[in-house]
Subunit: 249 residues, 2 copies
């Protein structure tokens, strides 16, 4: 059964904790991950310094996950090589974002992890994912909870998601779907910068509420999940527009 | 949504912790239960005396579950009114006992709870269910774990089971999701014609395999499912490009 574990390692599913504040939670997440064979833990600007005694105690034999955890100063650094980003959320978001069930998210993570790293984001304990963090996501997964009390502990949320990934990994052997090669986050960022540049060249009124317009476009293209080929086509169009605008002036 | 909560109360699904030793775990179980609308906690000969500060801290707002918990000296007292008893186990038992997946167990618990109280047993943290406890069970549920590390925390096991119960309870109800106002097909066709026009204005090489390129773009935007607002933004951009290209010539 060793093989199942190492396959999950290749699977490159990364659990990303953003600004975790309680060492016990970080340890609990490590334990939750390891019980389900998920091994890549990444911390973004943690308020917890590792190694930490409380974290190790709560990890209860899953310290190796803590020792091999990556630490990044910001979220973009933590996910720049990922081509699929899913954010966990307990609340219903007013902004419209494609929402999945834990089961659907686990399937997507598992299927697409074969092409490279994929990330599942967990927001800060008290506040969850902030809007700029949500904007990095292709999808949100909402873990269903009691509407009267939705205060899911961080390690519990990780446990449920890791469990669903484990189920998918074991149910989907041999029935893996073909997925396209999606563009990674860094290429998408370059595309968004390019798009913004072109809109400015066009004197397109993004300046009125500029952030809002770009956010809407980013949301659209994140939702569409561009393949590498599609991204090239769109960038080609942007370059063609720029050439024309340049020729004019 | 109050109703869902009270229905689960009527459901009378009882989580029974046998000899729990860590107050933090008892608090964590209470929290896990409440997030999923399971309310009946029973402790059998606990080594934790309630109320306990650490338990309350970890319950994080689910203290009511702790305050209303039943405490029994022995297991038989705790389950005597139950007509269905399911035991949780992480290991494969050598004794042959009917084993279920968490999903199957949740379904059975939920279905049969309508006829009266049903119990889900959790063994002591370190050792799990002892054989005399297993013998009280109609079924065992094995939460699947990494064969190399199956050390599921008590609160985590409770979280997974409560989550599965929650899913079962809600699977029959239709989930009402907020859907945006999507653009209709006619608007999309107009958009595609507009896009094609602009690409021709730009001398963009759609002409080589023109149909193929347009098809790829159509596939992309169909997949994204544009809202009316997004469609307007994109058409605005196309018009801006056309104006610039027209000015030039």
């Amino acid at each position: 059964m060793k093989e199942s574990d190492s396959e999950l390692k290749q699977g490159q599913i990364r659990f990303v904790l953003i600004h975790p504040t309680h060492p016990g939670n970080v340890g609990g997440v490590a334990r939750a991950m390891k019980t389900m064979g998920v091994r890549q833990l990444t911390l973004v600007a943690p308020q917890v310094k590792l190694p930490n005694e409380e974290a190790i105690r709560r990890a209860a034999g899953a310290e190796d996950i803590l020792y091999t955890a990556d630490v990044h100063e910001d979220l973009d650094g933590a996910i720049k090589d990922c081509h699929l980003i899913i954010g966990t959320t307990a609340r219903k978001r007013s902004i419209r974002w494609p929402q999945m069930t834990p089961e659907q998210a686990a399937e997507k993570l598992w299927d697409e992890s074969r092409h490279g790293p994929v990330a599942l984001l967990f927001g800060q304990e008290r506040s969850g994912l902030a809007n700029p963090e949500v904007e990095r996501c292709h999808y949100l997964v909402r873990i269903p909870t009691n509407p009267d009390y939705s205060s899911l502990n961080l390690a519990s949320a990780a446990q449920i998601m890791a469990y669903e990934v484990f189920l998918k990994r074991h149910s989907s052997l041999g029935t893996l779907q073909d997925v396209p090669r999606y563009a990674d986050q860094e290429s998408m960022h370059r595309f968004y910068r390019h798009l913004e540049e072109v809109l400015l060249d066009l004197d397109f009124p993004i300046a009125r509420p500029p952030v809002i317009l770009m956010r809407k476009l980013i949301r659209l293209f994140n939702r569409a999940r561009l393949s590498e080929e599609e991204l090239q086509i769109l960038r080609g169009i942007l370059s063609a527009v720029q050439q024309h605008v340049a020729k004019k002036s």
